[in-house]
Each structure stands twice: as C-alpha cells, then as structure tokens.
Symmetry: D2
Subunit: 237 residues, 4 copies
C-alpha cells in the first residue's frame, strides 16, 4: 500500500476546474483501490498541517502551490527535504517549481520563464522506456496550458523524461527526476489552475505511474537517525 | 592554431544553397584569420580522402553526410573513433546522426523521427552559460529547417545545450555534447541541404564556438600508443 | 525466462580455477532453475559461434576475453552493438574492458592501468540501492584479484555502482552501467583467470542480479528495423 | 581579481598544525599576488560575520567546519545557497560535508562513514583533464588523514574528479563538483584539523585551481533579482 499525501496551498484553488478543492480531486483521482490511499491536506497553523507524524506516515508527498510559497516556513521545507533523504517520495506539480521544499531538494531556485496563455502543449518522451511514461501517449497532447519555458533554473536532471512544446514557440523540460538520498523527486509542469489538466486520462496515467515510482522503498527511519554519521572502528584491511 | 577538416559526402550537395560545395563553404565560413584554418574534403578512394596523415593533422573534424553513410568503411569509422579518443574533436552536422563515425563514438544508432518540411525552428538554450552558446541569440531562430524529432536514439548526453522547437509541433535535442577519451564530440541538428542554414550569423557564431570547444587539447599521440594498457610494477602502498 | 549466452574466448582459460571451462562454469553458476537458462559458447569459425540466430535468441550476452580481442571481427562487434541497441543486455567481465564489443558500445578504448598481483580487493557500494547490489555484502571482499586501476578510459558511467580498493594502494570504478538504445550494459572488474573469483557467493549474487537487470525488456525486433529512421507525414499542430 | 572569503568555524581550530588560525593560514596560502585576494573570517554574532555585503563581494566562499554546524542559522545557509545560485563559487573542505550550506546546495544530508585514524591516503584522478587537477600529482599522496568512506550521501556528482584510497581498506569520492544555477560548488575531503594537510604542495595547487574554477563568472546581481520569474508577453511563433 502506498500512502500519498496531497498538499495544496489553498482550499479554493482550481475549484472551478474540478468542481471541488484540488487536493480532494487529486486524492480521489490518484487513489487506486487498496493499492494507493490518498489524504488531502490544506495548510493551517504553524506546521501547515504537515505534522511530523503525517510525514512519517507518508510514502509520497504531492505538492501543488502557486501564490503562497512565502508562507511555508523554512523549517517545514527543511523537514521535507530530510524526510525525502530518508526515503519519502515527493512530486511537485506545475507552479511548485519555486516552492521552498523543491528548492531545498534540488539546490537551486527553480526560476523559469512564463507567459499567461492557453497554449496547446505537446509533451514528447525523451526516455520512453521510463516507468513513469509506461502506457502514456507520446506525444501527450494538452488542448490548453500555461506556457513555461527555458531556461529553467534546475540542476541537470538525473533523468529527463519529457520535453514540452508550446504553441507560442517555446520549449520546457516538463518532466524531470532527481534522486536525493534514499528518496525520489519528480517535477511535472502541466497543471495550471484554470484548466482541468488533471482530468486528462494520459496525465492521470502518468501521475499514477509517478506515485509508484516515487514511493518509499525503505522502512521508515527518522531522518536524524538514518543519516547520522556512522563511526567505524573496524579496520577492513 | 586550430586545424579543421570539413568532410562532406558529396561535391554537389547544397550547391544551390551556398553557390559552392558545402565543404568549401563551411571551410571558408569557419576559418578565423590565422586562428582557425580549414581544409575541405570530399570522399574518393578507399580512405575517403581521410588518410591517417590528414587525421593526425586535424584538430577538429567536421562531418556532414546524408545519402551515402553506407559507403564509409567501418574501418574508417573506427579510425575516427580512435583519433577522437586520442584527442581529436568531432562535430557532426544535421543528417550525420546515423553516420558510422557518430555511431562508433556514442554507441547507439542515432535514429530519430523526421518530417520533410520547411518548418520554422526555434532553438532554446538549456545551458546558456556553455562556451558553445557564448554570444549566440536565445532563442536562435531559423526561418526554415527540416523537422527532426524525438525520440532520438542517443545515450544521455554529457551536456544538453539546446532544444529545438518546430512549427509542426515537434521538439528535438538539437545540440548535444559528449566526452570520449581525450576528445570531444558535438552534434548540431540544423543544416538541411536545401536551406542556407549555415549562412545564418547566429549559427556561424555557434559553430565557431564549437570548433574552439572541440579542438584538440593534448599533443598528438597515435591512438594505439596513447591508449595502450599501462602496466605498472610500482606498489603505491 | 531469461536466455543467457556466456561467451568465453578460449576453452581452457581458467580451467584450473573452476575445474572446467569458464563458459560452462558460469553458465551453470548463473542458471536459476527455469528462470534463467544459459548457453556456454567458445569461438570457432567466422562468426565466433555467435550466429545471428543465437544473438536473436539471447537476452543477455556475457563476455569474458583477455588474449584474443583482435581475433573478434569488427563486424561481430558491430552486430553485438546493434543487438544491444535493439534490446539485448550485455555483461562484460574483467579483461573484457578493451574488447571490441565493449568499445563499440561505450565509444572509448577502455584502457586502464594494471599490475600483476594477487592483491586483496574490497568493492564498496556507491549506489547501494541499485538492483544489481541487492543483498550483496558491502564491502564485497575478495582475497585475491589482479589489480586494475584508474584512470580508466570510459565515458562517465550512467551509473557508478562500486569502487574497488586494492591492497597495493589503487582504486578502480569496478561496477559501471550504461544504457544504449533499448539495451543495457554492465561492466564488472573482478574475475582474473588464475583466481576462482566467480566461486565467491557474493560475486555470484551480484552477477545473478546483473543478469536480471540487463535482460531484454522489449520484444525482439531486428536491429535494422527497430532503429530505422521513422518518417512522419503527420503534422502535430 | 578573485575575491576569496575563507570562513572557519572557530579561531583556534588547527592552530597547532598551522601555527595560526586555519582561516588565516588558508587565506595566505591561497592568495596569488594580485590575482587572488583572501579574507579570513571567524563567526561572531547573528550573521556569523558573513554579512550580505561581504557575500556580495565574495567570488569564492571557502568553508571549513566540524563541531558547530548547528550554530549556523538556517537563514545563513539559505542566503549562501542563493548567492551561489546567483554566481558565487563555494568550496567545502573536509568535515564541511554535513554543513548546512552544503546540504542546502546539494539537497542531501552529506552523511558518510568515518574512522578516527592517521591513515595514509592516495587520491586518484578519475577525470585527469579537469582544470582543478591541472598539474596536480596523480595519485596525490597524503602521509596521514582521517578516514572518510562510502557510502557518501550526496547526489550523483556533476563531475567526479578524484577517488580517495585509505590504508584501512576504504574508498571515498573525495573531490566532487556540482553546478547550481550560475554558481559552482566543489567539495574536497582532505583536511583534518590535526594534520597539516593544507601545507602539502599538491593540495595547495589543487585548491588554487579550485578557486579559479569556482570563481564568479557573471557580474553580481542580487539573488532575488537575478532569479526572479521572468514573465514574457512576446509570442515567438
């Protein structure tokens, strides 16, 4: 069983597109019978509703944010980075690119160029054999998306999966993977709040694959124990 | 001084676009006073005019081919791979992607998807700080090019510099770098023979940068001596 | 079922260490009931006993060679590269580093430094979570091996799994992975013919993992069809 | 001119080995006439003596720390990450591997295994052609060092330069490079405070090379301006 926590920065974001809060929508859409169970979370209070306990019981954290990056405490971003280092997966969606937890994990600001638009987008597989792209249409066609384009301030991805083509003439590294400690990180560009991108069947297939790919692969250990320095007294030779 | 050898598979290719043979055109266009000297070569005879002596005196080999890949002997492809391993640079242009020397250097077939077209192309810098892109417009705009698109059967590039956007909806990893032994390899997608792509000032800037980047950095040694196994009798500890 | 073909350059190599030919020994040692079936092959005749038909029916080719690299025809090395590009796995053992098929796949000569020795070796996991290292002791201890050391003329590996430590003061990138087209390539340094390295239980665990990792993941297609250029007439936008 | 700021966590650390504070020693040792000027800094007060103004006037920050990582405010680690993203270089020495600024830049905890020792160490070049290794002995021999060993919890380095061999049987990725935004990051393992490692001529050559490699390559811009999102209204096609 994979326990997914979907965190969206605000209750009402994308309600028009999905008929309900985005976190609820995604939690329902990504749940796969008993195999994947999802919890929808909106921030409230100092821990933004991501208590130590919830993180400890999360195998994949899905993060969508746009307007309120600044309200996330640095300490929470750091706690997330440490949980990922200890084995939790993390999926960052769309405008989460300059979110504090993503920055903490990749080590750059994640800035990009953008244009307000309802451009057609085509996502082309560069690594079609990757498990995240299994069974997903290539190219993946979106009738409308906001335009994000290069340069994108990220480190060279450990794996570049898809490149996005936009009607206005732009390209973007739209699906990228990072390995950080015992955990896995995936960023996926589509998902502007005014479009119902996450209703697209191909996008849902891809995200369900991403949940499986990112899921915790090791038994839970507290970050500060799993990664504490290991002192050896043995001599190997 | 950088000694460039421009090899083009056939005398008459692209003559309409450049008013002269493509090898001559490129040789003249890439020469930079005393700094870069170029030799134009067309194949003839068993060594395709790339004698051991010429290769030994080449700091960067530029390769354009399209219709006659099969006529290049495997032994020449191998000799080129070994010279690159020993320090020679190699620049493969446009339809050289399935050429034997490129395949020998990257280890895959280089196949891609294509569409006969005169599409507009925009090349976007993914690594704008790379020396090959120094001073080059971003995006680099081409009024017409043949359409090449993903998936492109190459190993993950050591450096991905530019992504091409095509009017028909496609994308392509258009500028990629590989390090192979002591030598450097650059592939650049634009340059279909029916368009005068290599007259474009930005393309020329980029290619001149590529020549400098790829140029031999070590004194010449014969491949079979430079890379022969080194047997040691010293014990370090 | 995974069909493994173990090719060893000579019938009598390592007979003292294993009590039988190395190809037979490995074929028996790597077979896992019905899951993995192995064929032992020694070269003879023009195709070195690796006919087109055998390659087509091979999911993983294991290659051990030392003294007779030159006797392998370039055309066979090329055929192997193309089969790997089309999906066959390849595992190169010990002194196969300058073998023609390995060179054709990685694009360099594979030269290294070495010292005739019976050094103790310790192999340290750099990527302990990799499937090839699953359940394998870390460090993996070998009581005696021939000393191979850096620099090792290979492209930056797609994945570096283990680093070897040698008693004489040397280090080596001992386990490295490459992805080439639809196929996977693994190089593993231990296995000098005068030591019974492949009797070591940890080495056998690792090699069995490697067979599973490298095994063909796609239905067989002839290299020249799977990778032929794909011409499109569709316009995506 | 390259302006280097050498920050060491404590005034008295390594005084016995160098006859003066480590920051002063390194500042003097790394200064190269007018080409490189160095400032020695020890923490005091809330900004640990790394004011915004000093960082803005730093082309390369050198960081040595061991016992007081926790005293560095998260906000300072974050500010350093942002300055590196905007172009400042950063060199982390020895026990700086779990320092907050290093973690913020690479995205992992940097934990490793260690043994208190005065082991002989040999550092072997894996990428001998890299500018940081120019003119440096290979292997680089150290008569005594503390033993650090794998696994080392870092992301796959953008460039792996040297592997350390230790007398006790261990190996370590001792010299690694990362690119983060417009800035460059180098980690170098040798330098335990009880040994005079930084008196070693080869180590000094390497560190001077590292200063040149890491130095700011772009004109200074404030991190929050250089990396702010760029909104476009232009349509390219």
């Amino acid at each position: 069983m994979i326990r997914v926590t979907v965190w969206v920065e605000e209750q009402n974001v994308a309600k028009e597109a999905y008929g309900k809060g985005l976190a609820q929508y995604l939690a329902e859409a990504l749940a796969v019978e008993d195999e994947v169970v999802c919890t929808a979370v909106y921030p409230e209070g100092g821990d933004m509703r991501l208590s130590e306990e919830l993180l400890r019981n999360t195998d994949v954290l899905v993060w969508w944010a746009h307007c309120y990056h600044d309200q996330v405490p640095d300490s929470l971003a750091l706690a997330i980075r440490q949980e990922v280092n200890a084995g939790m997966g993390a999926i960052f969606l769309h405008s989460a690119h300059p979110s504090k937890p993503f920055q903490a994990l990749v080590g750059t600001g994640g800035a990009l160029h953008w244009r307000e638009s309802s451009d057609k987008e085509l996502l082309w597989a560069v690594k079609p054999e990757h498990p995240i792209l299994k069974g997903v249409a290539n190219p993946l066609y979106l009738a409308e998306e906001e335009t994000y384009f290069e340069p994108f301030d990220i480190p060279t991805p450990d794996e570049l999966l898809q490149i996005g083509w936009f009607e206005g003439g732009e390209v973007f590294r739209s699906s990228v993977c990072y390995y950080r400690g015992k955990g896995r990180v995936f960023y996926f560009q589509p998902g502007h709040e005014t479009f119902a991108t996450y209703r697209n069947e191909e996008v849902l297939k891809l995200l369900k694959n991403a949940v499986k790919w990112a899921a915790r692969r090791v038994e839970y250990q507290k970050p500060d124990s799993v990664w504490q320095e290991k002192r050896s007294t043995e001599i190997y030779f």
